[in-house]
Symmetry: C3
């Protein structure tokens, strides 16, 4: 793929300062961009790097200084424009149609332009929307319904009855619809609680590599529209995850957790069962959530506490070893004062 | 599937109050159960919900108040009876026999009624017991032995030589028998310690989606009868996990860990190498176990400490920032007292 | 496999005390080694166990006491020699050549002696070096380059464009080259940051079961030569992992993390984004790294702190509940002293 700078400008907006006819065949970071690549500078703090760099062109803000001899693309938001330019260089997903080595049940319904890779398995009563891609080795279980323009990557697993909206991406090795983890102790063994529910994944959701979403015990485990889930995340049965939620890598929830719209969970956050995380809450990386979190609240730590409190407690803890020494010294001094005071009191009562 | 209430009663025991002829085609939670569904109420705290709900029938305790007009199934333990009723509605596993797209070595021995799904691979010298189901995409490595009535879900991996008892469930994407993680530093590189052992999984064990159980360096990594392991758990080489143990999601152990019968590990518990967790111990979610745990003990935190101590320390930590202020104030007051005392002492010694 | 003790001696060096003609058909631990197995004793602390054991032979140090009647193999480093002897008993990887049920693109280039298992998929433009083994169900995406003598285990996934050096092992279920997790909030939805980079894995690297290595947003996510990564580890986009690094089970990094050569990360270490861990640093198990770590430093805890400080703070925390009681008592005593002092002062000023 190769674009002229002026073509790029016409796609993402802005204004070219310099040679619009320069050819651009890729994107790169400011430090490493070469003479056929475009990059960006977020502010004029990077002026020297832009001046001395070898990039074919640099996306900069509207008030970035003039740099005669360098090709600048001036836009309102350089970072965002750069992300849009990156999108021009995404290789088109190779559509393979139905591979001869795919295994597709006779009663599966495949929409127009669906691709199914080699050794992928599509079971009975499956329904797949137009242009969806099932990569090699993926498994689509009985009765699964997948919308349009979805991507089910290699070796991902969609268990029986799971439903996906449109433009959903299930990354490699993820398993959707596994049994919830529920047992009743019967005095001599753990009796399995049947897991009769399913999973609904709404439009524009992404679920990362090797992540797991369990089906509900009864009813539905729901992942709301636009929510993005990173690698190795585990979401348990009967979770109700809102819209546009972010859950970073290695996060995990217990059963029946509710997460409000636009909440952000940093890396490796854990949430205990039946808790509610409010809309727009921010949960710091590594937090173990042990109580409900209010909308918009920022919490951290294990157990979870308001961020400010955690920082204050940590700072205090750092001072604790010395404080304990002071405490001991004070005890001694108090004893000493008491003794001296008693002496004085004795003298006052019984003046020699 | 549809049952009359009286049929359900005859299967799980108890006594019908109301119309035993009402048809039941599913189970649901108390708040959401509809007019063809059965639900349960654990106590008379839910009396109003039972009275006003639309469920076809409600499983209640023997001393639950009478509710003329509502169909009640009275039993000793409503929750347990409900779990049993749920079992009536589990869809029968679809047996596919040997799929034409399965890949099975000539010298594999398959018992009666074994199913092997499309693109599942059964290697040489494998032995699979009667009625076991190997789902699509699963891999059963050379010499693996699987008992009867097991379920190996889609894309699970059983490495060479692993042994499973009867009624074992390996959920989707789990890998059993990977190499233990062992290296010796040779001054200029990490030399691999050969991993010559294997994994034995006893009867009635479940291992969750995308979990890993490593084979022993020498000898056997053992998962005892009836133990239930959730998703994304990692059990390292030479673990000896007892019977009826529970390990919740994202738990992990280092090498040579021993866990006693009926111990319960909450979500994301980690256990350092060579430690022993006693029979029936309870390990709270998120705990990092850094010392041996006695039988029956309840621990929490990172590092692991007795639960009561953790709670006491956390409460103290919350008071620490203020306590440090008090400590500082006391130091000042002490200095002041000392000065005043010295003055008095001087006056007493040398009265003007 | 069966060896005479003298054959073993000729391979690993050392000197036989006893019968060099005894047959050895396996290795085992000191407590469990039987009459056809060899074992080792690290020091003469194990003298009684060696004397009373039933092992065919025992590897011991050069100054281990004489034990007439027992077969000893005397070496400089018993543990290391034992690891070498273990290597003699590693079963040769079963080479299957190209299985009839493998799916290989016409334009894939396979070196001499390459094996591809059943239902493994090798996509277009792939290049695989001599003697590399692709196990059943593994997926090798378009344009992937794999060196010589590699092992790609069952159901592992190598996404488009990933490059592996020689002697690399990707364990079962691992996914290499998944999309980095990057989004820009657009006011009403998360806009995907295209992930245009790739992953380079250098010679002699191992990546554990169900681990994930994300491709770079731009450029390369690099895993340096000789680095060993355990199961269920997640390495994010644009990580630069040095050589001979150890990352134990369930570790995880955020984007753009740098780890220096020979650093050791214990189990379940997490590293926040853009941080640098210095060469040879040691990170204790369960640590949440929240700041840069200097070369050679040893840290622990969440948040990460120097190991000594963590231990001191933990010891202090254990004493805190009692310290708070002392503090309260002191406050009371101070008040009392003040009152008594005021009385004396009053008396001194105004003697009755």
């Amino acid at each position: 793929m190769k674009f002229l700078l002026e073509e790029i400008c016409s796609r993402v907006g802005g204004r070219v300062d310099g040679d619009g006819g320069v050819g651009i065949s890729g994107v790169n970071a400011l430090e490493t961009a070469g003479p056929d690549e475009i990059t960006f500078a977020e502010s004029d703090r990077y002026l020297d790097q832009v001046r001395n760099g070898t990039a074919a062109a640099v996306i900069v803000g509207e008030d970035f200084p003039d740099l005669p001899g360098r090709n600048l693309l001036r836009v309102t938001n350089p970072r965002l424009a750069f992300v849009q330019v990156m999108g021009l260089f995404v290789p088109l997903q190779e559509s393979t149609g139905i591979h001869a080595d795919a295994s597709i049940a006779e009663d599966a319904e495949l929409g127009e332009g669906v691709s199914v890779g080699a050794c992928a398995v599509v079971a009975g009563r499956v329904c797949i929307g137009a242009r969806t891609i099932i990569e090699p080795g993926a498994y689509v279980g009985p009765g699964v319904v997948i919308g349009e323009d979805c991507l089910i990557e290699a070796n991902a697993v969609l268990m029986q009855g799971v439903r996906l909206g449109n433009r959903v991406i299930i990354h490699a090795g993820a398993t959707i619809g596994g049994e919830g983890f529920g047992f009743v102790w019967m005095g001599d063994h753990h009796h399995k609680v049947p897991q009769l529910g399913t999973v609904h994944i709404e439009d524009d959701v992404e679920i990362g590599c090797n992540s797991c979403v369990d089906r509900a015990t009864m009813g539905v485990t729901r992942i709301g529209r636009g929510t993005k889930i990173d690698n190795q995340v585990h979401l348990a049965h009967n979770n109700d995850i809102g819209e546009d939620v972010i859950i970073a890598g290695q996060g995990g929830t217990s059963g029946s957790v509710t997460i409000g719209n636009r909440a952000v969970l940093g890396g490796r956050v854990a949430v205990a069962d039946h808790l509610k995380i409010g809309e727009g809450a921010q949960i710091g990386g590594g937090t173990g959530v042990t109580c409900n979190i209010k909308p918009g609240e920022t919490v951290w730590g294990f157990p979870s506490r308001p961020m400010k409190r955690v920082l204050r407690e940590q700072a205090s803890l750092a001072r604790l070893p010395d404080a304990l020494k002071v405490l001991k010294k004070q005890s001694k001094e108090l004893e000493e004062l008491k003794a001296r005071l008693a002496l004085l009191e004795g003298a006052a009562k019984d003046p020699a």
